[in-house]
Protein backbone atom coordinates (compact mmCIF):
# COMPACT_ATOMS: atom_id res chain seq x y z
CA UNK A 1 0.00 0.00 0.00
CA UNK A 2 1.16 3.50 -0.77
CA UNK A 3 2.03 5.63 2.22
CA UNK A 4 -0.20 8.52 3.16
CA UNK A 5 0.20 11.43 0.79
CA UNK A 6 2.70 13.89 2.27
CA UNK A 7 1.03 16.65 0.27
CA UNK A 8 -1.86 16.84 -2.15
CA UNK A 9 -0.72 16.56 -5.76
CA UNK A 10 -2.16 18.27 -8.82
CA UNK A 11 -4.37 16.30 -11.18
CA UNK A 12 -2.67 14.68 -14.15
CA UNK A 13 -4.21 13.66 -17.47
CA UNK A 14 -4.93 9.97 -18.02
CA UNK A 15 -3.60 9.42 -21.55
CA UNK A 16 -5.68 7.12 -23.77
CA UNK A 17 -5.31 5.78 -27.29
CA UNK A 18 -6.49 9.06 -28.77
CA UNK A 19 -4.66 11.47 -26.48
CA UNK A 20 -1.32 9.72 -25.91
CA UNK A 21 0.35 11.25 -29.00
CA UNK A 22 -0.60 14.73 -27.78
CA UNK A 23 0.97 14.16 -24.36
CA UNK A 24 3.95 12.39 -25.94
CA UNK A 25 4.45 15.54 -28.02
CA UNK A 26 4.56 17.66 -24.88
CA UNK A 27 7.29 15.43 -23.46
CA UNK A 28 9.53 16.26 -26.44
CA UNK A 29 8.64 19.95 -26.44
CA UNK A 30 6.13 19.89 -29.28
CA UNK A 31 2.57 21.18 -29.27
CA UNK A 32 0.92 18.71 -31.62
CA UNK A 33 -2.55 18.52 -33.05
CA UNK A 34 -4.19 15.70 -34.91
CA UNK A 35 -4.50 16.30 -38.65
CA UNK A 36 -6.61 14.24 -41.03
CA UNK A 37 -4.47 12.38 -43.56
CA UNK A 38 -7.37 12.37 -46.00
CA UNK A 39 -8.53 16.00 -46.08
CA UNK A 40 -6.04 17.92 -43.93
CA UNK A 41 -8.67 19.03 -41.38
CA UNK A 42 -7.08 19.67 -37.96
CA UNK A 43 -8.96 18.59 -34.85
CA UNK A 44 -8.68 19.02 -31.09
CA UNK A 45 -9.32 17.32 -28.73
CA UNK A 46 -8.07 14.17 -30.48
CA UNK A 47 -10.61 11.54 -31.51
CA UNK A 48 -10.74 8.57 -33.88
CA UNK A 49 -12.71 10.02 -36.82
CA UNK A 50 -12.36 13.19 -38.88
CA UNK A 51 -15.68 15.08 -38.61
CA UNK A 52 -15.08 16.67 -42.02
CA UNK A 53 -14.42 13.56 -44.19
CA UNK A 54 -14.98 10.60 -41.79
CA UNK A 55 -11.50 9.22 -42.33
CA UNK A 56 -9.94 7.16 -39.53
CA UNK A 57 -6.43 8.04 -40.70
CA UNK A 58 -4.60 10.91 -39.07
CA UNK A 59 -1.11 12.21 -38.41
CA UNK A 60 0.29 14.45 -35.70
CA UNK A 61 1.46 17.89 -36.70
CA UNK A 62 3.71 20.06 -34.52
CA UNK A 63 2.37 23.62 -34.48
CA UNK A 64 4.19 26.87 -33.82
CA UNK A 65 3.00 27.01 -30.22
CA UNK A 66 1.83 30.57 -30.71
CA UNK A 67 -1.65 31.77 -29.99
CA UNK A 68 -3.84 34.39 -28.37
CA UNK A 69 -5.90 34.43 -25.19
CA UNK A 70 -9.53 33.59 -26.13
CA UNK A 71 -10.88 33.85 -22.58
CA UNK A 72 -9.68 33.67 -18.99
CA UNK A 73 -10.98 33.21 -15.45
CA UNK A 74 -9.59 33.64 -11.96
CA UNK A 75 -10.28 30.60 -9.81
CA UNK A 76 -11.00 31.34 -6.13
CA UNK A 77 -11.45 28.86 -3.25
CA UNK A 78 -12.91 26.44 -2.40
CA UNK A 79 -10.97 24.17 -4.75
CA UNK A 80 -9.22 20.79 -4.51
CA UNK A 81 -6.47 20.78 -1.91
CA UNK A 82 -3.66 20.57 -4.45
CA UNK A 83 -4.78 23.83 -6.04
CA UNK A 84 -5.89 25.68 -2.88
CA UNK A 85 -2.45 27.01 -1.96
CA UNK A 86 -2.16 28.67 -5.39
CA UNK A 87 -5.65 30.22 -5.37
CA UNK A 88 -6.65 32.68 -6.58
CA UNK A 89 -4.98 31.73 -9.85
CA UNK A 90 -5.81 32.43 -13.51
CA UNK A 91 -6.73 29.86 -16.14
CA UNK A 92 -6.83 30.77 -19.83
CA UNK A 93 -8.15 29.37 -23.09
CA UNK A 94 -5.70 29.89 -25.92
CA UNK A 95 -6.74 30.08 -29.59
CA UNK A 96 -3.95 28.60 -31.71
CA UNK A 97 -2.29 30.72 -34.39
CA UNK A 98 -2.63 28.16 -37.21
CA UNK A 99 -6.39 27.81 -36.64
CA UNK A 100 -8.04 30.03 -34.00
CA UNK A 101 -11.00 27.63 -33.74
CA UNK A 102 -8.57 25.16 -32.13
CA UNK A 103 -8.48 26.16 -28.47
CA UNK A 104 -6.67 24.77 -25.45
CA UNK A 105 -7.20 25.33 -21.73
CA UNK A 106 -3.99 26.15 -19.89
CA UNK A 107 -2.07 28.24 -17.41
CA UNK A 108 -0.48 31.58 -18.29
CA UNK A 109 2.76 31.90 -16.31
CA UNK A 110 5.92 34.01 -16.26
CA UNK A 111 8.12 31.03 -17.19
CA UNK A 112 7.29 27.34 -17.78
CA UNK A 113 8.41 26.15 -14.35
CA UNK A 114 6.85 29.07 -12.45
CA UNK A 115 3.73 28.58 -10.32
CA UNK A 116 0.27 28.83 -11.89
CA UNK A 117 -0.34 32.04 -9.93
CA UNK A 118 2.89 33.74 -11.10
CA UNK A 119 1.09 36.25 -13.33
CA UNK A 120 -1.16 38.98 -11.95
CA UNK A 121 -4.64 38.25 -13.38
CA UNK A 122 -5.05 41.99 -13.96
CA UNK A 123 -2.34 41.73 -16.61
CA UNK A 124 -4.25 39.13 -18.67
CA UNK A 125 -6.46 40.28 -21.53
CA UNK A 126 -8.43 38.62 -24.30
CA UNK A 127 -6.46 38.84 -27.52
CA UNK A 128 -3.09 38.87 -25.75
CA UNK A 129 -0.33 37.03 -27.67
CA UNK A 130 1.13 33.97 -25.95
CA UNK A 131 3.56 31.18 -26.70
CA UNK A 132 3.80 27.65 -25.37
CA UNK A 133 6.40 26.19 -23.00
CA UNK A 134 6.51 22.93 -21.11
CA UNK A 135 7.00 21.90 -17.50
CA UNK A 136 7.16 18.66 -15.54
CA UNK A 137 4.29 18.18 -13.09
CA UNK A 138 4.50 15.63 -10.28
CA UNK A 139 1.21 13.89 -9.51
CA UNK A 140 0.01 11.30 -7.03
CA UNK A 141 1.75 7.92 -6.79
CA UNK A 142 0.66 5.29 -9.29
CA UNK A 143 0.11 1.60 -8.52
CA UNK A 144 3.89 1.11 -8.11
CA UNK A 145 4.00 3.68 -5.31
CA UNK A 146 6.10 6.13 -7.29
CA UNK A 147 4.69 9.57 -8.08
CA UNK A 148 3.53 9.88 -11.67
CA UNK A 149 5.09 12.72 -13.60
CA UNK A 150 4.00 14.24 -16.88
CA UNK A 151 5.14 17.08 -19.08
CA UNK A 152 2.32 19.58 -19.49
CA UNK A 153 2.11 22.70 -21.64
CA UNK A 154 2.26 26.17 -20.10
CA UNK A 155 1.65 29.52 -21.80
CA UNK A 156 3.71 32.69 -21.51
CA UNK A 157 3.20 36.24 -22.78
CA UNK A 158 5.14 37.05 -25.96
Amino acid sequence: MAALEPQPRPLLPEPDDDSAPFWDGCSVGELRVQTCTGCGHRRFPPRPMCPACRSLDSRWEALSGRGTVWSHVVVHPPVLAAYAASAPYPVVVVALEEDPTLRMVGNLVTAPDDPINSIDPADIAIGQSVRVGFTEVVGSPGPDGHPRTMILPRWMPR
Binding site: L12, E14, P45, V75, V79, P88
Partner: protein, 385 residues
Protein backbone atom coordinates in the same frame (compact mmCIF):
# COMPACT_ATOMS: atom_id res chain seq x y z
CA UNK B 1 -47.16 12.85 -36.58
CA UNK B 2 -45.75 14.32 -33.41
CA UNK B 3 -47.01 14.36 -29.85
CA UNK B 4 -48.29 17.94 -29.69
CA UNK B 5 -50.77 18.12 -26.79
CA UNK B 6 -51.06 14.32 -26.79
CA UNK B 7 -50.04 14.07 -23.13
CA UNK B 8 -50.40 16.14 -20.00
CA UNK B 9 -48.82 16.55 -16.59
CA UNK B 10 -51.54 15.74 -14.08
CA UNK B 11 -49.60 15.46 -10.84
CA UNK B 12 -46.61 17.09 -9.16
CA UNK B 13 -44.90 16.25 -5.91
CA UNK B 14 -41.88 17.44 -4.00
CA UNK B 15 -40.13 16.97 -0.67
CA UNK B 16 -38.86 19.75 1.50
CA UNK B 17 -35.73 21.46 0.16
CA UNK B 18 -32.78 21.87 2.53
CA UNK B 19 -29.01 21.99 2.63
CA UNK B 20 -29.19 18.62 4.33
CA UNK B 21 -32.11 16.23 4.78
CA UNK B 22 -31.92 13.15 7.01
CA UNK B 23 -33.83 10.82 4.66
CA UNK B 24 -32.07 8.66 2.09
CA UNK B 25 -32.31 9.60 -1.57
CA UNK B 26 -34.54 6.58 -2.11
CA UNK B 27 -36.92 7.71 0.63
CA UNK B 28 -36.96 11.20 -0.85
CA UNK B 29 -37.67 9.92 -4.37
CA UNK B 30 -40.48 7.65 -3.21
CA UNK B 31 -42.04 10.43 -1.14
CA UNK B 32 -42.08 12.87 -4.06
CA UNK B 33 -43.53 10.22 -6.42
CA UNK B 34 -46.18 9.14 -3.89
CA UNK B 35 -47.24 12.77 -3.42
CA UNK B 36 -47.30 13.45 -7.17
CA UNK B 37 -49.57 10.44 -7.71
CA UNK B 38 -51.78 11.57 -4.84
CA UNK B 39 -51.94 15.04 -6.41
CA UNK B 40 -53.17 13.43 -9.62
CA UNK B 41 -55.50 10.98 -7.88
CA UNK B 42 -53.78 7.96 -9.43
CA UNK B 43 -53.00 4.70 -7.60
CA UNK B 44 -49.28 3.77 -7.66
CA UNK B 45 -50.29 0.33 -8.95
CA UNK B 46 -51.43 2.03 -12.17
CA UNK B 47 -47.97 3.40 -12.94
CA UNK B 48 -46.30 1.53 -15.80
CA UNK B 49 -43.64 4.01 -16.97
CA UNK B 50 -40.57 5.18 -15.03
CA UNK B 51 -38.23 7.86 -16.36
CA UNK B 52 -35.19 9.46 -14.77
CA UNK B 53 -31.72 10.93 -15.29
CA UNK B 54 -28.55 8.87 -15.73
CA UNK B 55 -27.30 10.71 -12.62
CA UNK B 56 -30.35 9.59 -10.64
CA UNK B 57 -29.15 7.52 -7.67
CA UNK B 58 -32.34 5.45 -7.40
CA UNK B 59 -32.95 2.59 -9.81
CA UNK B 60 -36.37 2.01 -11.35
CA UNK B 61 -36.66 -1.38 -9.63
CA UNK B 62 -36.17 0.16 -6.20
CA UNK B 63 -38.74 2.87 -6.88
CA UNK B 64 -41.21 0.31 -8.24
CA UNK B 65 -41.01 -2.09 -5.32
CA UNK B 66 -41.09 0.63 -2.66
CA UNK B 67 -44.21 2.15 -4.15
CA UNK B 68 -45.80 -1.24 -4.74
CA UNK B 69 -45.99 -0.79 -8.50
CA UNK B 70 -47.04 -3.89 -10.39
CA UNK B 71 -46.29 -4.20 -14.12
CA UNK B 72 -43.89 -1.52 -15.36
CA UNK B 73 -43.63 -1.67 -19.15
CA UNK B 74 -41.52 1.36 -20.09
CA UNK B 75 -38.39 2.87 -18.51
CA UNK B 76 -35.43 4.89 -19.72
CA UNK B 77 -32.88 7.42 -18.56
CA UNK B 78 -31.62 10.63 -20.14
CA UNK B 79 -28.01 11.76 -19.80
CA UNK B 80 -26.07 14.97 -19.25
CA UNK B 81 -26.95 16.08 -15.72
CA UNK B 82 -28.61 19.46 -15.79
CA UNK B 83 -29.51 19.02 -19.46
CA UNK B 84 -31.66 15.98 -18.70
CA UNK B 85 -34.72 17.25 -16.80
CA UNK B 86 -37.08 18.28 -19.60
CA UNK B 87 -35.75 15.35 -21.62
CA UNK B 88 -36.83 12.94 -18.90
CA UNK B 89 -40.36 14.36 -18.96
CA UNK B 90 -40.33 14.44 -22.76
CA UNK B 91 -39.24 10.82 -23.10
CA UNK B 92 -41.97 9.86 -20.64
CA UNK B 93 -44.47 11.79 -22.79
CA UNK B 94 -43.26 10.02 -25.93
CA UNK B 95 -43.73 6.69 -24.24
CA UNK B 96 -47.24 7.54 -23.08
CA UNK B 97 -48.25 9.06 -26.41
CA UNK B 98 -47.17 5.93 -28.26
CA UNK B 99 -48.84 3.55 -25.84
CA UNK B 100 -45.73 1.97 -24.33
CA UNK B 101 -47.03 3.23 -20.98
CA UNK B 102 -50.34 4.59 -19.71
CA UNK B 103 -49.14 6.35 -16.58
CA UNK B 104 -45.54 7.56 -16.50
CA UNK B 105 -43.61 9.10 -13.64
CA UNK B 106 -40.54 11.29 -14.14
CA UNK B 107 -38.52 12.14 -11.07
CA UNK B 108 -35.23 13.43 -9.68
CA UNK B 109 -33.83 12.97 -6.18
CA UNK B 110 -30.53 14.48 -5.17
CA UNK B 111 -28.43 14.90 -2.07
CA UNK B 112 -25.40 17.12 -2.26
CA UNK B 113 -23.28 14.63 -0.33
CA UNK B 114 -24.22 11.83 -2.74
CA UNK B 115 -21.61 9.88 -4.64
CA UNK B 116 -23.43 10.65 -7.89
CA UNK B 117 -24.22 14.32 -7.36
CA UNK B 118 -20.81 16.01 -7.62
CA UNK B 119 -18.62 13.91 -9.90
CA UNK B 120 -16.22 16.81 -10.39
CA UNK B 121 -15.31 16.76 -6.69
CA UNK B 122 -13.98 13.22 -6.88
CA UNK B 123 -10.26 12.87 -7.36
CA UNK B 124 -8.90 9.95 -9.28
CA UNK B 125 -5.29 9.10 -10.07
CA UNK B 126 -5.62 10.50 -13.57
CA UNK B 127 -8.27 12.51 -15.40
CA UNK B 128 -9.73 10.62 -18.38
CA UNK B 129 -11.81 11.87 -21.30
CA UNK B 130 -12.14 15.48 -22.47
CA UNK B 131 -11.52 16.79 -18.93
CA UNK B 132 -7.89 15.65 -19.23
CA UNK B 133 -7.34 18.80 -21.31
CA UNK B 134 -8.80 21.18 -18.70
CA UNK B 135 -8.90 19.92 -15.11
CA UNK B 136 -5.14 19.38 -14.69
CA UNK B 137 -4.74 23.13 -15.35
CA UNK B 138 -7.00 23.98 -12.43
CA UNK B 139 -10.25 24.50 -14.36
CA UNK B 140 -11.85 22.28 -11.77
CA UNK B 141 -15.50 23.04 -11.14
CA UNK B 142 -18.56 23.58 -13.34
CA UNK B 143 -18.52 27.25 -12.30
CA UNK B 144 -14.98 27.63 -13.69
CA UNK B 145 -16.07 26.21 -17.02
CA UNK B 146 -19.09 28.51 -17.33
CA UNK B 147 -17.08 31.51 -16.08
CA UNK B 148 -14.77 30.96 -19.07
CA UNK B 149 -17.73 31.33 -21.45
CA UNK B 150 -19.05 34.28 -19.43
CA UNK B 151 -15.78 36.21 -19.77
CA UNK B 152 -15.79 35.65 -23.52
CA UNK B 153 -19.44 36.73 -23.64
CA UNK B 154 -18.48 39.92 -21.74
CA UNK B 155 -15.78 40.59 -24.29
CA UNK B 156 -17.98 40.02 -27.34
CA UNK B 157 -21.19 41.67 -26.16
CA UNK B 158 -20.37 44.13 -23.38
CA UNK B 159 -22.08 42.17 -20.64
CA UNK B 160 -21.77 43.92 -17.27
CA UNK B 161 -21.93 42.58 -13.73
CA UNK B 162 -25.13 44.60 -13.32
CA UNK B 163 -26.78 42.29 -15.88
CA UNK B 164 -25.74 39.24 -13.88
CA UNK B 165 -26.98 40.95 -10.72
CA UNK B 166 -30.35 41.52 -12.43
CA UNK B 167 -30.64 37.74 -12.80
CA UNK B 168 -29.69 36.94 -9.22
CA UNK B 169 -31.96 39.66 -7.80
CA UNK B 170 -34.99 38.69 -9.90
CA UNK B 171 -34.83 35.07 -8.80
CA UNK B 172 -34.24 36.02 -5.19
CA UNK B 173 -37.28 38.30 -5.27
CA UNK B 174 -39.39 35.42 -6.57
CA UNK B 175 -37.96 33.09 -3.90
CA UNK B 176 -38.84 35.60 -1.20
CA UNK B 177 -42.51 35.03 -2.13
CA UNK B 178 -42.16 31.21 -2.13
CA UNK B 179 -42.30 29.61 1.35
CA UNK B 180 -40.72 26.41 0.00
CA UNK B 181 -37.64 28.22 -1.32
CA UNK B 182 -34.37 27.88 0.54
CA UNK B 183 -33.89 31.63 0.25
CA UNK B 184 -37.47 32.53 1.17
CA UNK B 185 -36.47 34.55 4.22
CA UNK B 186 -33.30 36.06 2.76
CA UNK B 187 -33.83 39.20 0.69
CA UNK B 188 -30.89 40.34 -1.45
CA UNK B 189 -29.88 43.84 -2.54
CA UNK B 190 -27.65 44.94 -5.39
CA UNK B 191 -25.08 45.92 -2.76
CA UNK B 192 -25.22 42.37 -1.38
CA UNK B 193 -24.50 41.04 -4.86
CA UNK B 194 -21.49 43.28 -5.38
CA UNK B 195 -20.16 42.55 -1.87
CA UNK B 196 -20.20 38.77 -2.40
CA UNK B 197 -16.94 36.86 -2.64
CA UNK B 198 -15.58 35.73 -5.98
CA UNK B 199 -15.91 32.07 -6.88
CA UNK B 200 -14.53 32.13 -10.41
CA UNK B 201 -14.07 35.61 -11.88
CA UNK B 202 -16.10 37.04 -13.52
CA UNK B 203 -18.64 35.08 -11.41
CA UNK B 204 -19.28 35.65 -7.70
CA UNK B 205 -21.12 33.59 -5.10
CA UNK B 206 -24.56 34.88 -6.13
CA UNK B 207 -24.03 33.88 -9.77
CA UNK B 208 -24.13 30.27 -8.58
CA UNK B 209 -27.01 27.93 -7.86
CA UNK B 210 -27.65 26.55 -4.40
CA UNK B 211 -26.64 23.09 -3.25
CA UNK B 212 -29.79 21.31 -2.18
CA UNK B 213 -31.16 18.02 -0.89
CA UNK B 214 -34.60 17.20 -2.22
CA UNK B 215 -36.72 15.29 -4.70
CA UNK B 216 -39.45 16.10 -7.20
CA UNK B 217 -41.75 14.08 -9.42
CA UNK B 218 -44.33 14.62 -12.14
CA UNK B 219 -47.04 12.28 -13.48
CA UNK B 220 -47.81 12.10 -17.21
CA UNK B 221 -50.87 10.55 -18.86
CA UNK B 222 -52.60 10.81 -22.24
CA UNK B 223 -54.61 14.01 -22.61
CA UNK B 224 -57.92 12.17 -22.97
CA UNK B 225 -57.32 10.48 -19.62
CA UNK B 226 -56.04 13.71 -18.03
CA UNK B 227 -59.54 15.16 -17.85
CA UNK B 228 -60.45 12.52 -15.25
CA UNK B 229 -57.64 13.48 -12.89
CA UNK B 230 -57.88 15.63 -9.80
CA UNK B 231 -55.99 18.67 -11.12
CA UNK B 232 -56.25 20.95 -14.11
CA UNK B 233 -54.22 19.11 -16.76
CA UNK B 234 -51.11 20.90 -18.02
CA UNK B 235 -50.57 19.97 -21.64
CA UNK B 236 -47.14 18.98 -22.91
CA UNK B 237 -47.52 21.05 -26.04
CA UNK B 238 -44.03 20.46 -27.42
CA UNK B 239 -40.75 18.84 -26.42
CA UNK B 240 -37.26 18.84 -27.93
CA UNK B 241 -33.69 17.88 -27.13
CA UNK B 242 -30.48 19.24 -28.63
CA UNK B 243 -26.80 18.61 -29.24
CA UNK B 244 -25.19 21.20 -31.48
CA UNK B 245 -22.34 21.01 -33.99
CA UNK B 246 -19.02 19.94 -32.39
CA UNK B 247 -20.42 20.39 -28.88
CA UNK B 248 -18.27 19.44 -25.91
CA UNK B 249 -20.00 19.00 -22.55
CA UNK B 250 -19.38 22.03 -20.27
CA UNK B 251 -15.91 22.80 -21.64
CA UNK B 252 -17.55 23.93 -24.87
CA UNK B 253 -14.64 26.08 -26.02
CA UNK B 254 -14.25 24.57 -29.48
CA UNK B 255 -15.60 25.22 -32.95
CA UNK B 256 -16.47 28.46 -34.67
CA UNK B 257 -19.03 29.81 -32.18
CA UNK B 258 -18.78 28.40 -28.64
CA UNK B 259 -21.34 30.88 -27.28
CA UNK B 260 -24.01 29.34 -29.51
CA UNK B 261 -24.74 26.14 -27.61
CA UNK B 262 -27.32 23.34 -27.48
CA UNK B 263 -30.12 25.80 -26.59
CA UNK B 264 -30.17 27.00 -30.19
CA UNK B 265 -30.51 23.49 -31.58
CA UNK B 266 -33.21 22.62 -29.05
CA UNK B 267 -35.09 25.86 -29.70
CA UNK B 268 -35.15 25.36 -33.47
CA UNK B 269 -36.74 21.95 -33.07
CA UNK B 270 -39.04 23.00 -30.23
CA UNK B 271 -40.59 25.96 -32.04
CA UNK B 272 -40.94 23.90 -35.23
CA UNK B 273 -43.08 21.41 -33.28
CA UNK B 274 -45.22 24.07 -31.60
CA UNK B 275 -48.22 26.17 -32.56
CA UNK B 276 -46.73 29.04 -30.56
CA UNK B 277 -43.54 31.09 -30.80
CA UNK B 278 -41.35 33.00 -28.35
CA UNK B 279 -43.71 35.99 -28.48
CA UNK B 280 -46.55 33.84 -27.13
CA UNK B 281 -44.68 32.73 -24.00
CA UNK B 282 -46.21 34.22 -20.84
CA UNK B 283 -43.64 32.93 -18.37
CA UNK B 284 -40.41 30.91 -18.58
CA UNK B 285 -38.47 28.62 -16.28
CA UNK B 286 -34.89 28.71 -17.58
CA UNK B 287 -32.16 26.47 -16.21
CA UNK B 288 -29.94 28.53 -13.94
CA UNK B 289 -27.04 26.60 -12.48
CA UNK B 290 -25.14 29.85 -13.18
CA UNK B 291 -26.48 33.31 -14.03
CA UNK B 292 -24.85 33.60 -17.49
CA UNK B 293 -26.88 30.59 -18.66
CA UNK B 294 -30.00 32.76 -18.40
CA UNK B 295 -28.61 35.28 -20.90
CA UNK B 296 -27.59 32.53 -23.31
CA UNK B 297 -31.01 30.87 -22.96
CA UNK B 298 -32.92 34.12 -23.56
CA UNK B 299 -30.98 34.42 -26.81
CA UNK B 300 -31.03 30.75 -27.74
CA UNK B 301 -34.80 30.37 -27.38
CA UNK B 302 -35.39 33.51 -29.40
CA UNK B 303 -36.59 36.08 -26.83
CA UNK B 304 -33.89 38.50 -27.99
CA UNK B 305 -30.98 38.72 -30.43
CA UNK B 306 -27.45 37.49 -29.81
CA UNK B 307 -25.78 39.71 -27.22
CA UNK B 308 -29.07 41.28 -26.10
CA UNK B 309 -29.60 38.91 -23.16
CA UNK B 310 -28.00 41.33 -20.70
CA UNK B 311 -30.10 44.40 -21.56
CA UNK B 312 -33.21 42.13 -21.67
CA UNK B 313 -32.82 41.74 -17.89
CA UNK B 314 -32.69 45.51 -17.24
CA UNK B 315 -35.56 47.37 -15.53
CA UNK B 316 -37.07 44.21 -14.03
CA UNK B 317 -37.23 42.56 -17.46
CA UNK B 318 -37.27 39.01 -16.08
CA UNK B 319 -39.28 39.73 -12.93
CA UNK B 320 -43.03 39.21 -12.64
CA UNK B 321 -44.54 42.20 -14.44
CA UNK B 322 -41.53 42.47 -16.76
CA UNK B 323 -40.95 41.57 -20.40
CA UNK B 324 -40.72 37.84 -19.58
CA UNK B 325 -41.04 36.64 -15.99
CA UNK B 326 -38.37 33.96 -15.45
CA UNK B 327 -37.94 31.40 -12.66
CA UNK B 328 -40.96 32.47 -10.69
CA UNK B 329 -40.27 30.04 -7.81
CA UNK B 330 -36.72 31.31 -7.39
CA UNK B 331 -35.10 28.73 -9.68
CA UNK B 332 -31.88 26.89 -8.98
CA UNK B 333 -30.23 30.03 -7.67
CA UNK B 334 -32.78 30.85 -4.94
CA UNK B 335 -35.40 28.08 -4.56
CA UNK B 336 -33.50 24.79 -4.80
CA UNK B 337 -31.00 23.15 -7.11
CA UNK B 338 -32.35 19.72 -8.00
CA UNK B 339 -31.00 19.61 -11.54
CA UNK B 340 -33.81 21.83 -12.76
CA UNK B 341 -36.71 19.55 -11.85
CA UNK B 342 -38.14 22.34 -9.68
CA UNK B 343 -38.37 24.45 -12.86
CA UNK B 344 -40.70 21.82 -14.35
CA UNK B 345 -43.02 21.73 -11.33
CA UNK B 346 -43.09 25.54 -11.23
CA UNK B 347 -44.03 25.57 -14.90
CA UNK B 348 -46.95 23.31 -14.04
CA UNK B 349 -48.02 25.60 -11.17
CA UNK B 350 -47.95 28.64 -13.46
CA UNK B 351 -50.33 26.98 -15.92
CA UNK B 352 -52.54 25.77 -13.05
CA UNK B 353 -52.53 29.32 -11.65
CA UNK B 354 -51.07 28.31 -8.28
CA UNK B 355 -47.58 29.86 -8.29
CA UNK B 356 -46.54 32.07 -5.39
CA UNK B 357 -45.47 34.58 -8.06
CA UNK B 358 -48.34 33.94 -10.43
CA UNK B 359 -48.32 35.52 -13.87
CA UNK B 360 -51.89 36.58 -14.58
CA UNK B 361 -53.65 34.25 -17.05
CA UNK B 362 -50.47 32.36 -17.89
CA UNK B 363 -51.30 30.05 -20.78
CA UNK B 364 -47.87 29.23 -22.25
CA UNK B 365 -44.78 28.39 -20.20
CA UNK B 366 -41.36 27.49 -21.60
CA UNK B 367 -39.25 25.24 -19.38
CA UNK B 368 -35.62 24.56 -20.28
CA UNK B 369 -32.83 22.37 -19.01
CA UNK B 370 -29.15 23.26 -18.85
CA UNK B 371 -27.43 25.29 -21.55
CA UNK B 372 -23.76 24.36 -21.92
CA UNK B 373 -24.56 20.66 -22.03
CA UNK B 374 -26.76 18.51 -24.32
CA UNK B 375 -30.13 19.84 -23.29
CA UNK B 376 -33.91 19.74 -23.61
CA UNK B 377 -36.99 21.92 -23.28
CA UNK B 378 -40.77 21.73 -22.88
CA UNK B 379 -43.64 24.03 -23.78
CA UNK B 380 -46.42 23.65 -21.23
CA UNK B 381 -49.87 25.02 -22.02
CA UNK B 382 -53.44 24.87 -20.78
CA UNK B 383 -54.23 22.70 -23.75
CA UNK B 384 -57.73 22.06 -25.02
CA UNK B 385 -60.52 22.59 -22.50
Amino acid sequence: MGIRDATAIVGIGQTAFAKSLPESELALACTAIRDALDDAGIDPRDVDGLFSSTMEPNAEVEVARNLGMTDVTAFAQVGYGGGAGCGVVGQAALSVATGQADVAVAWRARKRGSRTSRPWAQVGAGIPGPAQYSRPFGLLRPVDEIAMLARRYQHEYGLTRDHLANVALAFRKHANANPNALMHAKPMTRDDYFAARWVSEPLCLFDNCLETDGALAVVIVRSDRAKDCRQLPVSIHAFAQGINDQHQVMTNFHGTDPLRGPAWTTARKLWSLADVGPGDVDVAQLYDAFSPLILLSLEGYGFCDRGEGGPFTDDGGIEVGGRLPVNTSGGGMSEAYVHGFNLITEGVRQIRGTSTSQVADAEVCLVTSGEGVPTSALILTRGAA
